[in-house]
Symmetry: C2
Subunit: 485 residues, 2 copies
């Protein structure tokens, strides 16, 4: 696509019921979260979208540091020979990488890939740095961009370049690595539910869905408002797979030489897409207060000499909120009407609108309008900051509750494949069914229904004696199925 | 270099007087700031080095936001056709870029470059986003990695991949763009001097040293302890150069259609190298407290039953410092002696060491040792936190003062080219001399002495009637010469 062929900004947002995919893209572009770029499959994250990412980063980084991790940075270019070392890994990623073949005016002796993920380059460095059990655990995270060559892309959800964090750790024992893998999955779950108000199902991926090179992969999965699942974060126990290939050894407490046990885990800018599709409505975005760039928008009602009467009050309110670290936008443009501003900030998903006009000032009150419920409340000026803070907490909770309710209503349990097919052909959602654990069976379900096993959820991990709903063999687990992004 | 040929970590740090370049690399690797990677010219920024970068980022980002800027993210891959649009720009950067020619298993129709800088891709987007004077100014910054193919590299100072921030702004008038260009240079100067304790000279680059595509470039230049200059940050007034090429137009207040005026400005991880070479000594790093990952290291004196007697006191001190947001490392390893720890944290540049042993506890005191002066003070436990905070402020100031003193002692002023050559052949430094402003004259000075014009410093911008110290023509400016990194 040339830069002259970029589609124009939409003026209207397509309703969800008409075309959910169109609604998603319209909402993003109209709210100026992101835009298409002249580079195939690559997007631009605009300031409003990037501000959400910054808040997500802060909330994650705080959690990583609280669990003992430190940040570092590794080269983005990886020599082909390193990528080729781990056979499962190369099989998984080689078809997806961008190749650098020339540097300056010269052809390179060895081709380089732009990292699709960094296990290989980080493993190479760990082999240098780790000598003794005293050097363990190594708990490093990296904030970085990665490239995975994608044929079909969608803003935030699947783009050729995306931003993410990737944790890479090394441990003395298998048990410690497994504990770390699950700890970080827990961090992701807490982050998603607390910060993004996005309920998730945590569990283990099947063999066919696990990370290329891992022993086991865990994931958190969220349900979008169109009934499709979104993989929102993954955590991998690499066991000694990469350690053996990259020769990451240490002298153990008993003086023997051992390979380390590794983990890796990541979440990406796709979470922004997850938030949009978890909470948004036909009016556009609805952002959870904890990650909203602006938690409150103040719209002064511009009548008469409002700049002398209303505006000073609006400024005073803004300053009192900012003093309490509330993120506030005071929209004092006189080129736009209040009605236009209401609509604009609604589609940008600002959780709370504060209107103040001459009448309100006379009554020493303001109007608060919630984005989620559109509920309108008159609130006295006295104690306003506390009222706003309280309402932001309520909105955060209400968004989570509503999303959880939606998830429950769209989660079915069935032992009948016929019913399963029927659900998947209607408006889909999660379906929990007993499954044999065999990849062939999983593959035919996918082929026939497009549904995949999202994970084997922890809360349904134990299974009573039953038969696979598809092939009739003995069931090994309750699997969590959905069509997915 | 294969991963098996990476040089081992140095055990000793080469003295500065023996080999400054060796000292620099030894200090970095011994302190675990960074390491060589198996990717030619690319380095790994290790956690201790990355922690410095995080503190620098926070201090810069705060300043950018306080001056009205927002962050965004643009694709790292740029189609060849975009790079080729601005002729000066392509001439400057084409020899330095990495080329992506294949994606997945397919050869690309159009080659892509990994961004060496982002004027072209950002300009393309600005052309879409900017319609009216109401959309201006656009004040965007990006934190990103870039690639410039380098033949000779040096940790932090010149690496094929590096991390930086790049600001890109668009304005209605030339005057506003010029004001922004100088404002951001001022932000850099304040940041360098306040946070890094690194005195800098601010001024304008000559035509031959300016950014490829800019109308004018300003820089801050710092003097390293070997007498060489380091370009520490640049700010460019792009005038309408990129706007005309990328068609960034707007409807002006008078309804006419105009091209925007642009600026761009950046600093990078090379600043970490600048800090090392501004403050370090033969013992290794000396970090200014404001960007030190650990401002204080507590070393408990491990005699007798120290874990029962000394350690609880050390923990208590640590907690009281952490409560005041002092960054503290309590080194309670029992595998190492206090003497070993003193040496270790000295070479890692921790500004202040706090020793506490049984005798100190008996006297209700601790020992504080400054890294910069190695001065040792006995400080009463009573009011300890305030004493530490005060001393950190003193150290920050002392480092700046010492560096400024060094800069003054290594700045000469001469009208004689003979003397100039003599200085440059000895231990060099800054030399201020009257210059004709002609590129040919500048080039022959460089050829004969390796010295370049760092900038035309603001404080010496006006010049009395005199002749060029090299060619004898009428002098146009006082130029600031140095050999540089």
């Amino acid at each position: 696509m040339s830069d002259n062929e970029l589609p124009d900004l939409p003026t209207e947002i397509t309703p969800q019921s008409v075309d959910f995919g169109r609604w998603y893209i319209d909402s993003i572009r109209r709210a100026e979260l992101a835009d298409y770029s002249p580079v195939k499959g690559c997007m631009v994250i605009r300031p409003y979208g990037y501000a959400i990412w910054e808040l997500m980063q802060q909330a994650l980084d705080r959690r990583f540091k609280a669990t003992g991790h430190v940040n570092a940075y590794f080269p983005m270019l990886i020599p082909e020979s390193l990528l080729l070392k781990e056979s499962d890994h190369v099989e998984g990623f080689a078809p997806q990488v961008a190749w650098v073949t020339h540097g300056g005016n010269e052809e390179l002796e060895e081709r380089l890939v732009i990292r699709p993920t960094s296990e290989t380059i980080i493993g190479t460095m760990y082999a240098k740095w780790i000598q003794s059990w005293r050097d363990l655990p190594v708990l490093i995270n990296q904030w970085a961009n990665v490239i995975r060559w994608e044929k079909v892309t969608r803003l935030f959800l699947r783009t050729t370049e995306f931003l993410w964090q990737e944790g890479h750790t090394a441990h003395e024992t298998y048990e410690e690595a497994e504990e770390e893998t699950q700890r970080m999955l827990g961090v992701y779950k807490d982050f998603a539910q607390t910060e993004l108000a996005m309920p998730v199902v945590d569990g283990k991926k099947t063999e066919s869905e696990k990370f290329a090179g891992a022993e086991s992969t865990y994931s958190i999965e969220a349900l979008m408002r169109d009934g499709r699942a979104l993989q929102a974060g993954t955590s991998h126990n690499l066991a000694q797979n990469f350690a053996k290939v990259f020769d990451i050894k240490f002298q153990a407490r008993d003086k023997s030489v051992q390979y380390v046990y590794g983990t890796s885990w990541g979440v990406s800018t796709r979470l922004i897409g997850g938030v949009i599709m978890t909470h948004g409505d036909d009016g556009g975005l609805i952002l959870p207060p904890r990650i909203a760039p602006y938690q409150v928008v103040i719209v002064p009602i511009s009548r008469g000499n409002w700049k002398e009467t209303v505006l000073p009050k609006a400024v005073e309110i803004r300053d009192s909120l900012v003093a309490r670290n509330v993120r506030v936008m005071l929209d004092d443009r006189d080129s736009q009407t209040p009605g236009w501003k209401f609509n604009e900030w609604e589609l940008r998903g600002v959780p709370l609108r504060l209107e103040v006009g001459p009448k309100d000032i006379a009554k020493s009150q303001v109007v608060l309008v919630r984005r989620d419920s559109r509920e309108k409340t008159f609130v006295p000026m006295e104690g306003l900051v506390a009222s706003v803070e309280e309402m932001l907490i309520e909105i955060q909770q209400a968004l989570f509750d509503r999303a959880l309710q939606f998830q429950k209503e769209h989660t079915a349990k069935t032992n009948s494949y016929k019913e399963f097919v029927k659900i998947m052909n209607g408006r889909p959602g999660f379906v929990i069914s007993p499954w044999c654990g065999l990849p062939g069976c999983e593959a035919s379900i996918k082929e026939e229904t497009q549904a995949t096993i999202r994970n084997i959820p922890f809360e349904h991990a134990t299974i009573e004696e039953s038969l696979c709903f598809k092939c009739g063999k003995v069931a090994k687990a309750n699997a969590w199925f959905a069509k997915s992004y």
